[in-house]
Amino acid sequence: MSVLVYTESEGGKFKKIAHEVVAYGHGIAEMMGTTVTAIAINGGDASELGTYGASKVLEVKNGDLEKFSAEGYADVVAQAAKAEGSSVVILTSSANSKFMAPLVAINLEAGYVPNVTQLPESTSPLKVKHNVFTNKAFSVTEFMTEVKVIGLGKNTYGVKENPTSATAESFSPSVDTGGVKILSVDKATDKVTIADAEIVVSGGRGLKGPENWGMIEDLAETLGAAIACSKPVSDMGWRPHSEHVGQTGKPVAANLYIAIGISGAIQHLAGINGSKVKVVINNDPEAPFFKAADYGIVGDAFEVVPQFTQKLKEFKAQNA
C-alpha cells in the first residue's frame, strides 16, 4: 500500500538525497492517499527520516550488506516492496541507485522511469515527467505496470520538511549478494564529489594549463564546492577524467554551477542543464555559454577568479 523509498546512507548516516527522496515520496503518497515507508540498509537515525515525511522506517542491519552490492540491495528493496504491498518504489539518481534500479524493476515486474523531475501529472494512470535527450527535452511517460519504479533526479524536488513521527521497524530480508565481489574501493573521503555537491566550480580550456588550477581550487574550497572541468581539459590530462562533465561525462545537478573559461558547447551544456543557477566567467562576450547562463562576468579569469575568491572570503566572514 505505502509508497516505498530507498534511502541511501554512508557510514551510518543518511545522505541529503535520502531526505529529498523521502520528501518526494511524501508528495506522491499524499496524491495517492497513503503513507511513506523508507527502507534503510545499515542507515542512520530513523526519526531523521520522519522530518521529511516517512511514517515507517524498515531498518536492515546486516554485515553482508556493509559494502554496496547492486544485486543484494536490489533484492532487499524488492522484498521490502512486496512486504509492504507497495505499488510505487522510489530511488534516486546516484550511481548506486541507477545501478540497482533496473534489477529492482525486473524483480518486481515493474516499469522503471529514471531522471524524474517533479510530482506525477496523475497517479492513476501514473504519469511522470522526466529528462530525456541529456536534458535537452522532457518526456511525460505513462506506466502500464502494476508496480512502478521511479528514479528521482537529484535536486529536482528539493528537500522539504513534512514532520511525521516515524516508527522504526527491524526488517530481516534474506540476503544474497550474487556473483559480483568488491575487491577494493579507492575513494577520497575528504573531498566533496560532483554528485553530492551543492556548488560546482568548473574550469575549461580558457585556463590554459593544469598549473593554473590553484585558483580554481581556492575558489572551490571557499565555497565548499566540488571541482569539475570540460572534456578537452580531461582529454589533455590537465584534470582527472572523473571531473569531466557534460553529455559524455558526468551530469551536474547542483544549486550553483560556475563555469570559468568554458565556451558552452552544446555537449557541455547538455550535462549541466540540470543545475539551478549558472554563472559564467569568460573573456569573450560572444561565448555561447552566456546564452545559457543566469549571471555572467565578461572578463579575464586570471583577474576575476582571485578577486571573487577574496571577496567571497570577506562575505563569508561577515555572514558567519
Binding site: 533496473p102 534489477l103 525486473i106 522503471y112 577494493s184 575513494k187 553529455q247 552544446i266 549571471y295
Partner: protein, 246 residues
C-alpha cells in the same frame, strides 16, 4: 570467448532536438545518427579482446532498417557479425527482453552495453537484460580485463572507483575509461569495404509488452537572458540576495 556489444543508434551529440506529430515523436529530420558514445567505448574495448585474446565480436541493435548504417559502421570498426532485431525500440524493458533472447541464442560469455544511451538516458537496458538472463552485472565500468572465466572490472562510483571481480557470463554498462578517446577508431577504407560483405542478420522480435510509454515530449522553457555584471561584489550580492544560492 564470444562477445556481444549492444549498440544503440542515437542522434549525434550536436543534434537539435525537435518533436513532431503534436510533440509525440522525435523529429529525425536532418538528424545525423551515430553509435551511442558509451557503446563505442565498449566496442573499441571488444576489439582489443578480439586482437589480443582471439575473441569473436558480434554487435546487436533493436531497431528498424534505418539503424543498419550504424551497424555497418560497427562492422567497419571491426566487429565480425551484426544482428538487428527487427522492431522499433519502444521502452527499455522491451529492448532488454529482445536482447536477452539474442544473448541466450548466441551463447555469449560477455555482453557489453553502455551506461546509458544519450537519447532516452534510461540507463536500464543492460541491467534488465542481465537480470532476465541471470548473468552477473556491473554498471559504469571504466576498466575491464578477462582472464579465462574471470573478469576484473573497475567501476566508477560517486567520488572514486571500485575494483570488482565476477565470473562470466557477465553484462557490463560501459563508458569512457574502458578505452580512451584517442583509442577510438575511425573506420578506414578497407574496413568499410569488408563491412559490406560481413553478415548482418535480421531476426524477428519475440512477443513482449512494453511497460512504459512516452505520451508527450516537451522542450525546456526558454530561459531569461543572462544578467551581466562587471564586478564580483555585484555577483556575490545577486547570488546571495536574488538567487539565494550562497
Amino acid at each position: 570467448m564470444k562477445i556481444l556489444v549492444c549498440i544503440s543508434h542515437v542522434p549525434d551529440t550536436t543534434s537539435k532536438i525537435n518533436f513532431t506529430d503534436g510533440d509525440t515523436k522525435f523529429d529525425t529530420n536532418g538528424v545525423q545518427f551515430v553509435i551511442n558514445p558509451n557503446d563505442e567505448f565498449g566496442l573499441t574495448r571488444a576489439m582489443w579482446f578480439k586482437e589480443k585474446q582471439g575473441a569473436s565480436v558480434h554487435v546487436a541493435t533493436v531497431g528498424g532498417p534505418e539503424t543498419e548504417p550504424t551497424l555497418r559502421k560497427a562492422l567497419a570498426i571491426g566487429a565480425d557479425e551484426a544482428i538487428r532485431v527487427n522492431t522499433p525500440a519502444t521502452d527499455g524493458y522491451s529492448v532488454a527482453k529482445q536482447l536477452a533472447g539474442v544473448v541466450k541464442d548466441g551463447g555469449y560469455d560477455l555482453v557489453i552495453g553502455g551506461r546509458e544511451s544519450i537519447d532516452y538516458n534510461g540507463g536500464m537496458v543492460p541491467g534488465m537484460m542481465a537480470k532476465l538472463i541471470g548473468a552477473n552485472f556491473i554498471n559504469t565500468c571504466i576498466g575491464l580485463e578477462i582472464e579465462g572465466n574471470q573478469a576484473t572490472v573497475v567501476r566508477e562510483i560517486d567520488g572514486g572507483k571500485e575494483n570488482l571481480e565476477a565470473s562470466l557470463p557477465l553484462v557490463i554498462g560501459g563508458q569512457k575509461g574502458l578505452v580512451q578517446e584517442s583509442d577510438l577508431r575511425i573506420p578506414n577504407m578497407r574496413g568499410i569495404m569488408q563491412a559490406r560483405s560481413k553478415p548482418l542478420h535480421v531476426i524477428e522480435p519475440v512477443d513482449v509488452a512494453a511497460e512504459t510509454q512516452a505520451i508527450r515530449f516537451e522542450k525546456p522553457a526558454p530561459r531569461g537572458t543572462v544578467k551581466l555584471v562587471d564586478n564580483v561584489d555585484d555577483l556575490i550580492n545577486l547570488l546571495h540576495n536574488e538567487a539565494k544560492v550562497i
